[in-house]
């Protein structure tokens, strides 16, 4: 969570395009700063999906308003869009899997045309395993791990990875922490060895501790000056109370107090082969990579079983305002707890979300952006953690229309609950999810995240191969039912970071205003 976000936006049509489609691989187009942890906890509401959009229905979507006359009467430009052709077959590549004696689960996937390989060690450790008074201890452990092993200095680790055409990144998330990176194809085995050394033999040098804590305090201060971070912090605290998922940021005192012993303790308790998975995806020499994995990971200790207290999010209809005097916009999160990916309702819920607010052409976005012009980057999303999820709409809206924006969001939820969408509208969204599923599985990072997502949530291998079919099986009536059953808006938590004196009147109709 401590990772700083990019300050560079795109001067574009939309900030967050199609939600989860593009993973953060390589240099993705700079997007709006992500609010969530980039590690495995998140891969956004991965629309985990499977092969065969041969199941995809012909794209029927065509413009509603067909006008007969072309602008240039002399040209044969057709007034109707040409029909789509026949969908190509698409299969998520089947990984080669094996498990080491110490419990490390390995998946190797040959994929793509670029001479690169991605090595990712995903471990069941992260912020979810912190105690209440040690928020970001997981991040500090990750930062220190990058500072050297028993045989390599931090500078040597960096240079070795760079000479492979890559970099070694430790990314700490909620339920998982990953170590790895992309390298040129010929360096697959060396990258495996480097990752193994960093995770197995950390030196945790005392000399770097105060510098890393200063960096952490600076990151904390910067993030707490961003309205989106403040909104998330409050939203999580309200929903999760004292569960780890409710603790987004530490206090300064916590960070200042961290000791090397705490870091070593956290490492000892939460790192180990038995709670880790290793993925190599791309183009690489399979036998050499497998040999490197066995050689460098076989001696790693198994570690303890991951144990997490079950999250029990609660939500009651109330408005939580964090005052930001003079703010030109209100940053709004409006959400409710839902079922998580292990539920049979999850895929229908995902389709519902895309139609309601997840896609660019979704109802809420059309309403508050394309009709009213209240906001630039509204988006809904199902935020997923281990055995836990919530649905939320997130939008930065102009201060003076904070109330009207929230009113429209509720109106769209109510409308969907009351009336099933048309078959055409649903088919369009199903096609969108089938198509973006292919995009999600068309990069090394995307394939890695997909496999790790399925593993984290305990989904069967058939999940991938039947996802698209399940998306298409959802009916209009089910969409309404999902909205009614899971987006229980009379229990919605509403968090607003904005200019209290201007917005308080506007929003009091939506629930009791809590806090000062």
């Amino acid at each position: 969570m401590a990772h700083r976000t990019s300050l560079i936006p795109v001067l574009g049509l939309a900030a967050l395009l199609a939600g989860a489609v593009v993973t953060r691989a390589g240099q993705a187009p700079p997007a709006q700063p992500a609010l969530e942890k980039p590690a495995a906890a998140k891969p956004a509401p991965q629309k985990p999906v499977a092969a065969k959009p041969s199941a995809q229905k012909p794209a029927t979507a065509k413009p509603a308003a067909q006008k007969a006359a072309a602008k240039q009467p002399n040209t044969p430009f057709p007034a109707e869009p040409p029909k789509a052709g026949v969908p190509r077959d698409f299969q998520v590549p089947e990984p080669k899997r094996f498990t080491l004696d110490n419990g490390l689960q390995v998946a190797l996937v040959q994929w793509g045309t670029m001479p690169k390989a991605r090595v990712t060690l995903s471990m069941r450790t992260g912020n979810a395993f912190e105690k209440a008074d040690e928020v970001w201890l997981a991040d500090l452990t990750g930062d220190l791990m990058r500072e050297g092993s028993s045989t390599r200095t931090a500078a040597q680790i960096s240079e070795e990875a760079a000479r492979m055409g890559g970099s070694l990144t430790v990314s700490v998330g909620g339920d998982s922490t990953t170590i790895g990176g992309d390298v040129l194809t010929e360096f697959g085995p060396q990258m495996v060895s480097l990752v193994a050394d960093v995770v197995r033999n950390p030196k945790f040098p005392e000399s770097e501790l105060s510098r890393l804590k200063a960096n952490m305090l600076r990151n904390l201060a910067v993030q707490l000056s961003q309205p989106q971070s403040l909104a998330l912090q409050k939203f999580r605290a309200v929903m999760y109370g004292d569960h780890a998922y409710g603790r987004v940021f530490p206090t300064e005192a916590m960070v200042k107090g961290f000791t090397l012993d705490q870091v070593r303790g956290f490492y000892k308790q939460t790192y180990g082969a038995g709670r880790s998975r290793l993925y190599v995806v791309g183009r690489f020499d399979s036998p050499a990579v497998e040999a490197a994995i066995r050689k460098t990971f076989e001696g790693w200790q198994k570690g303890s079983e991951p144990t997490q207290p079950q999250a029990k999010p609660t939500s009651t209809r109330a408005v939580h305002i964090i005052d930001r005097p003079g703010a030109p916009q209100s940053t709004v999160i409006l959400g409710v707890p839902t079922v998580d990916p292990s539920s049979p309702d999850f895929i229908p819920l995902t389709v519902m979300d895309a139609l309601l607010g997840g896609a660019f052409a979704s109802r809420i976005t059309k309403n508050i952006r394309e009709d009213k012009g209240y906001t630039y980057s509204p988006t809904s999303d199902i935020s997923v953690r281990y055995r836990d999820a919530y649905w939320s709409e997130n939008a930065d809206v102009t201060t003076t229309v904070t109330g009207p924006s929230i009113k429209e969001i509720f109106a769209e939820i109510d409308r969907l609950q009351a009336e099933p969408p048309s078959k055409d509208e649903l088919t369009g969204i199903q096609n969108y999810l089938a198509g973006t599923y292919v995009l999600q599985n068309s990069s090394r990072a995307g394939i890695t995240n997909q496999l790790d997502y399925m593993a984290l949530h305990g989904l069967p291998p058939t999940y991938a191969s039947t996802y698209v079919k399940q998306v298409y099986a959802v009916t209009p009536e089910q969409i309404s039912e999902m909205a009614k059953k899971h987006v229980v808006d009379d229990r919605a938590t509403i968090v607003i970071v904005g200019d209290r004196k201007v917005i308080e009147e506007q929003v009091k109709a939506f629930g009791s205003i809590t806090e000062k």
């Binding site: 300050l7 489609v21 057709p78 040959q110 760079a162 492979m164 980057s377 995009l439």
Partner: protein, 471 residues
Amino acid sequence: MPARAITAAAAAAVVLAFSPVLDAQQPPARRGTAATAAAVPSKVTVPVEYHKLDNGLKVVLSRDTSSPTAVVGIYYAIGFRIEPKDRTGFAHLFEHMMFQGSEHLGKNEFISLVESNGGVLNGSTRFDFTNYFQIVPVHTLETVLWAEADRMWGLKITQDNLTNQQGVVKNEVKVNVLNQPYGGFPWLDLPQHANTNWYNAHNFYGELADLDAATLADVQQFFKTYYAPNNAALVVSGDIDTKQTLEWVRKYFGGIPASKLAPQPDISEPRQEKERRASREDPLANRPAVAVGYHAPLRDTPEYYAMGLIDQLLVQGADSRLYQSLVQKRGLTGEVDGGINLLGNMFDVKGPTLFTVYVIHDADKKADDIIAAVDQEITRLQNAPVTKEELELAVVKRRSRLYADYEQFVGFGRANLLAAFALFDDAPAKINRLEDEFRKVTPETIQKAAREYLRPTNRTILTIVPKGKAN
């Protein structure tokens, strides 16, 4: 590029078996470092088919079989640099209008058409072009080409549409700049201080009053002036049948009339002779920050490619000299960010651009201490040529980054480079010369580029003074 020879050869064989884009002509094995045998570096060759329609539309087709998708990118040679002087932010506002309705696609219909065909879409406005792109399942390619052509034929929008998007764009400026700590400081503010020519030095996101002042007539005039086939490049890449694709392109775009293009204004910047400094108070930030921008070498000079390697040596990655010095050794900051053309990459900008480095730091460190530490590394580059090993490291990083550029956003990055080279140079195949150009850079060219372009008198320093409340 050290690796065990057997491993590398086996890997290369695997790759070649699967990949039509890799060059089978491997260069002779080179000597690696003493510890390892020589490896054969893989080289990527991008297929490029280039056509020009009678109306002047440049068409680039590039087959890539990684996934059953296609990228459609249309690039118009109008960036925010040359928008009307009393309409700052207009080029970007206009980009939004391209989604508001054309002859056969009413409001919201373009977006719905692409998404309901399983695709994603966006547009963006940059210094020297405005682009529109879709990434779609390849079987829907014809539908998308039709839609993209429909809006090149003409727009059909109302005052309501314009008012709506003025609201959206003002909200975009608020969320990215006005309500954000540090909002825009390295990418929006710094160029305004570093440049002297209005075209390079104005607020291209737009003053809110200018955005409000835009009229429907402005929109139609802008379209007429710049959105013509002879001012555009269309790239289609992915798992496409190039012959069929070209037929569709001719069918839908071929009849759009060319227009008489206005001469381009002079966008050049004079050689900077004196350091500039600027400072901004930021009521939202609670830690100071500093950005330093140097005018970068013009495209295609030897120094241009050298600068691409200097960027790798100085800024990119945890192994870079500035990271090692400012973060690892001195603890002045936790991150060093920067690069050539922050709103894209070194290839997709045609006119003057900056090489920028920026950091957020604590109040107990002075901006001048940070600049001094940066200077120390720059002076090293100016005083002595880099070693062969350092040069090799920069080249391997740059080459790997190039592949990442190609792959960015499921192949959009490759289309982006092809479009830029078609639009700027009339030569999309230039994409396949980049690796060699970087390999040709010598330690002497790097030294020469550092001496001319990383002069203190060629730079602008912008500091952020935090006025936000402490957390």
